[in-house]
Symmetry: C2
Subunit: 202 residues, 2 copies
DNA sequence: CCGCACGCTAAGCGCGTGCTTAGGAAAGGA
DNA sequence: TCCTTTCCTAAGCACGCGCTTAGCGTGCGG
């Protein structure tokens, strides 16, 4: 379960990035509370005290990872939805990219999606606001498709939730041993989603 | 977030059941590792030492909850799939029941679905075997539908995984504040799934 | 009525945790 | 060449954890 060094290329110094990478691996593997600062530091090739040079606390490290991952996801969703194209085309692209991201980055996606409750209240509120924006963007796209007749769903909010569920749950089960590439998975899931939304154009 | 006392009616004595209920609540709320034996015992109205009268360890408590939940789920899946009826009818019933179970029992479902990695290796193997049987049963039903022409999916295994993902992810987001009842949610998700599987009979 | 068994508690143990502190090494700038 | 800053380590602190133990109370059976 390797983590590309390009996950957070902008993080400086390199030692902080190594700590984040080590933290992501362990948070994904065993969870935030089962991960110790000694685990993180050792995996980063440092002593436990070094963690506190770069981060104020262990949970601050989780917050950086969580916020960054959510910001990346929101930016990607907004980028796709903001493109020109029919709701069907944009939904196909959105699901393809969303699922691909969760498959390709399933390690960090697992932390992003499943360690929310380990965040303190204020930090959780920040991340929850990002999540709402993602869901609202997807729901908006579905509403557009309903208006122009491409989609037929009785409950737009529920449909948005189902679409996101499929992508989010990829983080739970995808692994390097999966036979399907992230891109292929994204394409197939896009087909499933368009059918689910009642689109005949697929 | 209340838990019906009928979740494990067969567990005796009543003190053990109170401990399991308290454990489920806390495991669902903050996770296995963030839950302490003092948390569990206090919520059950006992001292920490009392836990060890009924369970050999904290993780044994988790295993009881996890195995029981998986057995209930497998029994329900096998019951539905074993009924007479077309693949479309049985899939509609299956998704309806599966989603309803995860919504209604979202607290224990959250423990069942998201605390697997906290189980020791041998206990995990037992639960993983139960999960494979669930997935194989769903995949078998999809294959039947493909054979009789009711479903059209390029990848039966992936379709089974997507179907289960929708249900499993309900455990993550459903709450008492959800506007939709578990039964209504099950019905709507069944419609979405039948469309997803390419069935026109819905 | 007495003794035994069961269920529980109070108190504690040994260990591991998140985080702190004092000091050292290396690099860079004056 | 010397001083300052940055990054790190070794060592440790205070606390909380999972679990154990000795003893008590209650209920039941002989």
């Amino acid at each position: 379960m390797s983590l590309p060094a390009d996950l957070w290329p902008e993080v400086r110094p390199e030692a902080a990035r190594r700590l984040m990478s080590a933290a992501v691996e362990s948070f994904a593997a065993v969870g935030f509370h089962a991960t110790t600062t000694r685990d993180i530091a050792t995996a980063a090739g440092m002593s436990p005290a070094a963690l506190y040079v770069h981060f104020p606390s262990k949970v601050a490290l989780l917050y950086e990872i969580s916020r960054g991952g959510h910001e990346q996801t929101l930016a990607m969703v907004q980028d796709v939805i903001g493109q020109a194209g029919s709701p069907v085309d944009r939904m196909r692209a959105l699901v393809g990219r969303f699922v691909e991201w969760h498959a390709k980055r399933h390690v960090v996606a697992r932390v992003v999606q499943y360690e929310l409750r380990s965040l303190p209240e204020e930090e959780y509120a920040v991340v929850a606001a990002l999540r709402r924006r993602i869901e609202q963007a997807v729901q908006g796209l579905i509403a557009e498709g309903v208006r122009d007749g491409s989609f037929t769903v009785p409950d737009e909010k529920l449909a948005a939730r189902a679409v996101l569920s499929l992508g989010i749950d990829v983080a739970r089960w995808y692994s390097e041993r999966a036979r399907k590439t992230p891109k292929a998975l994204g394409r197939e899931y896009a087909t499933l989603v368009l059918r689910m939304l009642g689109s005949s154009a697929h």
